[in-house]
Symmetry: D2
């Protein structure tokens, strides 16, 4: 059994001494850094940024040295307050997660089972450190799959008129289940700006090598254009459709002998792997969004 | 020493018996088929097409059976006439090339030497069955490179006013050198529709995974968007910039730690390989253009 | 609904006119060739071989022309007899399959569910043209998975002493279910030569880039050696372990930051895709075994 | 013009506070860390190791704060002494390089020009931060290529009897030219243990996906075995042939239609890219050797 760990993820204006300051904070506490990585944006500009991910072994918190530094207690809350003070001083935005507090995620699907099965099976195999709190669909088709894995399944049908109401219901469900990440596992609906503004982060899988084939039927577009590679892109959903920060991409080689349906089949394999990698990176707290880009530490 | 071969490349409305008819033509002549491949378009439509590539050993032409079938002579011209008759009957368009008659190609460059060196060295190593008849540039920068390999080099400077005249000069040079393929090896100029209409086929390398990042500075666009893969696309130049039929594509993985210059460096490796594969496929007479797509047999 | 098709797969000593002869056979019958490809071995030797795959639309058999040629009947049996006559004349070995007669396959597993789920889900999605007749394991662990998909599941425990008897039982099961292909979907047992000699073809997935890391724990070997790519290989099982003809391979990039367990995780994704592609190629009757190699047409 | 930088590369027994201690060292000096990365070995064992790469901007050394800390001077030597003291305290082995002091490398070749051209052109384009001090071959074939780029070229013929003497000459040449890295760019000779013990680090490119096809003619072995991917491996040369720590690997897809010569051609493209990436990683001081593995930071 792995001992509890905390992962800090931060972004700050670049300045000398940042690695030493943040690493020193934990060293002074007598807390062991298990893993750390950092990156400074390389493009010359007025606003160079620094990014860092630090994973610590929480065991050190229990020792006298930590108590001596933190004062009255060594609770996670006290730790966060002390770290927050340093972060404020250095102008950093930050967040923290704990390995023994699993994120609860919601899977949104429509009728296609491929990505749903894939994510559920990976979660069961321990590849995705999270709890799948619920599955939501606008169609009842995949209910038996969810039930087979004993996952709560909600059908929320939607059309142009009911969209607003359906999204309100969906938001309520996410809140009720304490969901902190939504994964669109081939959910064939566009989410409104209002929804995205209120929802937790949303990861989408686009069945195309963005920004190439935006919009519908990308495989048919790819076929028409005779591309030699088929790709998939996992990105955060933003109000500009298919324009959100890219988390992960991959491709597979295709040839003229493959019709659109075969491109779909090859693409499905790429989609699954790309989506799983993206969700995993998010859950491992490796991803910082910077404008239209991501930094994956 | 390989014996002379002929490569036939054809496209016809799909209909029963095409493989048998075309293969039978050579069988009746007593001519050996060294390599053949064919493809029928899989998309249901009124106009299903059939594509075939047949490579024959010309030695068979010298035997009595060929003479008996072809009549008065077994020259390449007589062979072409006989094949042409069958093709007409079946509604096929076709072309033929001979392994002992090398295509003459022109390389168009500007200042960057990377693709120029690459193509010249591959030609010297026997990877590209052609003769590099001349190198043309709008700048004198790469003249020493061409001279080092004893290749004729022409500097044809160009600006908005002189464009028409320069292209006329260029066309004259291509004609004079009997050029049958033009390769834009990082030639940083857009060719006019008029030029393209009169010139032999033109292959361009686009430093981006088309149709994703069209236009200028694709690597900077890629960096801004945070893509995880960098690509390159070789395509025939058409009047719609970056919209010509795609010959070959490939990608390489990149990450957030790479600035735009490093994307350029990684991309350069992909470009070279993609361009070389595309030129080779064209020279081996494997490519049929069908609308906006290519069939690479 | 697709019309019934037949796929002929053949191998013959190379000689002039083979494409014409085989294609001509079907042309004369008035039967349409839907897809065909062929390959002649390129290595100079006394025994150059020719390989061909021909897919025909069986509808043509129903027309008068086919009857006129075949004589008394146009049954599949008559067709096979006529084709067999031609094949014998040309020294070819051959086989045929029909799109409306699905192969029955057996999945052999142990405790790991990943490949089992993957193959079952692909079969359900129509990616694998076959019927999964049964699942056999030496452990009862995966019985619920098989049951969830209503697949017959047999537990045949095995140890050194019972191996012979267990394999006899297994052979009886395969025979009873008319199995024509066995897929080792992470079956952690070595099959005896005796079994392999009597069983239908067996496809195995090796979690290593063969012939690199043979034997057990290839990911740990890969980690120790610091490889930068992780691979998987699907091959036909032969009496020489891990030496059978290779059907398909692929790799994924890894780095020093990944421990052996992460290599296992990355490898699992590669294994699944590689195994599925191999099984599909076999079921589509694209694979000819030639000594230690395969020709995948 | 980039300001001078220093790159420190170190390896130490893992222990709490290492990131803070090393980063703190430079922070206290008022020296800016431009880039840093670190890694702790993940395999549980008695001897967990920590690896770190720190790149600093040397400008900070010129400021009063550095002088105050370092004492009498802020020369590179004083900096190294101070860093060395800390490293000794923490049990670390380390090395340092300076961006304004280029490594001198020697290229060893035989007759094949492909890797030679590739490395020379990359060096000219600024991709490889080094000076190519000399080219050595056991054949005079490539002398004109070296001369074309004005590089010193030495022919040192070798056979079984002269091997010892030839290697002694080679070592003398390397010493005379102050060579710190030897690159075997398709040098078709095995170097003796004695040579390797006295020479600077040697990087070799193996035209095979190690540890798969060791020894000679790997592409022919690959063809015989019908592999579906062709690979290349760059590794440090050690006395166990083809067993040295792997720096970089890559593959390209091939198919049954390709004969051994085509595998060679495809492989050549992979080799060039893999060797260049490996040499670049070494020159950028990213590589730590740990037993039979490398850590590439």
């Amino acid at each position: 059994m792995q001992r509890p760990q905390a992962s800090f993820l931060l972004s700050a204006p670049d300045q000398p001494g940042l690695v030493a300051r943040f690493a020193g904070f934990f060293f002074d506490l007598g807390v062991n850094i298990v893993d750390s990585s950092n990156h400074a944006s390389k493009v010359e500009s007025d606003a160079k940024r620094f990014y860092m991910r630090i994973v610590i072994d929480l065991e050190g918190l229990a020792k006298p040295r930590a108590l001596a530094v933190l004062g009255e207690s060594t609770s996670r809350r006290t730790l966060e307050q002390a770290f927050g003070k340093l972060a404020t001083e250095l102008g950093a935005t930050w967040s923290v997660g704990y390995s023994d507090v699993q994120e609860k995620i919601a899977l949104l699907v429509t009728k296609e089972s491929s990505c749903l099965y894939d994510l559920v099976l990976r979660q069961k195999q321990g590849e995705l450190p999270c709890e799948i709190a619920l599955v939501v669909s606008n169609h009842p088709t995949l209910e038996p799959v969810a039930e087979g894995f004993r996952l709560p399944f909600y059908t929320l049908p939607v059309n142009a008129e009911t969209k607003r109401a359906q999204e309100t219901q969906l938001l309520a469900l996410l809140k009720k289940h304490h969901v902190t990440l939504v994964v669109l596992a081939r959910y064939m609906q566009v989410l409104s700006d209002t929804f995205l503004a209120e929802a937790p982060p949303v990861i989408n899988i686009h069945h195309g090598f963005l920004p190439a084939f935006q919009g519908a039927k990308p495989y048919h577009q790819a076929f028409e254009r005779g591309v030699k590679l088929i790709g998939a892109t996992a990105h955060y959903a933003t109000k500009d459709l298919d324009e959100g920060p890219i988390l992960e991409q991959d491709v597979a080689r295709v040839h003229h002998g493959m019709g659109p349906e075969e491109l779909v089949r090859v693409g499905r394999d790429v989609e699954r792997v790309v989506l799983a990698r993206a969700v995993r990176a998010h859950l491992e707290r490796r991803v910082i969004v910077e404008g239209r880009r991501t930094i994956v530490l």
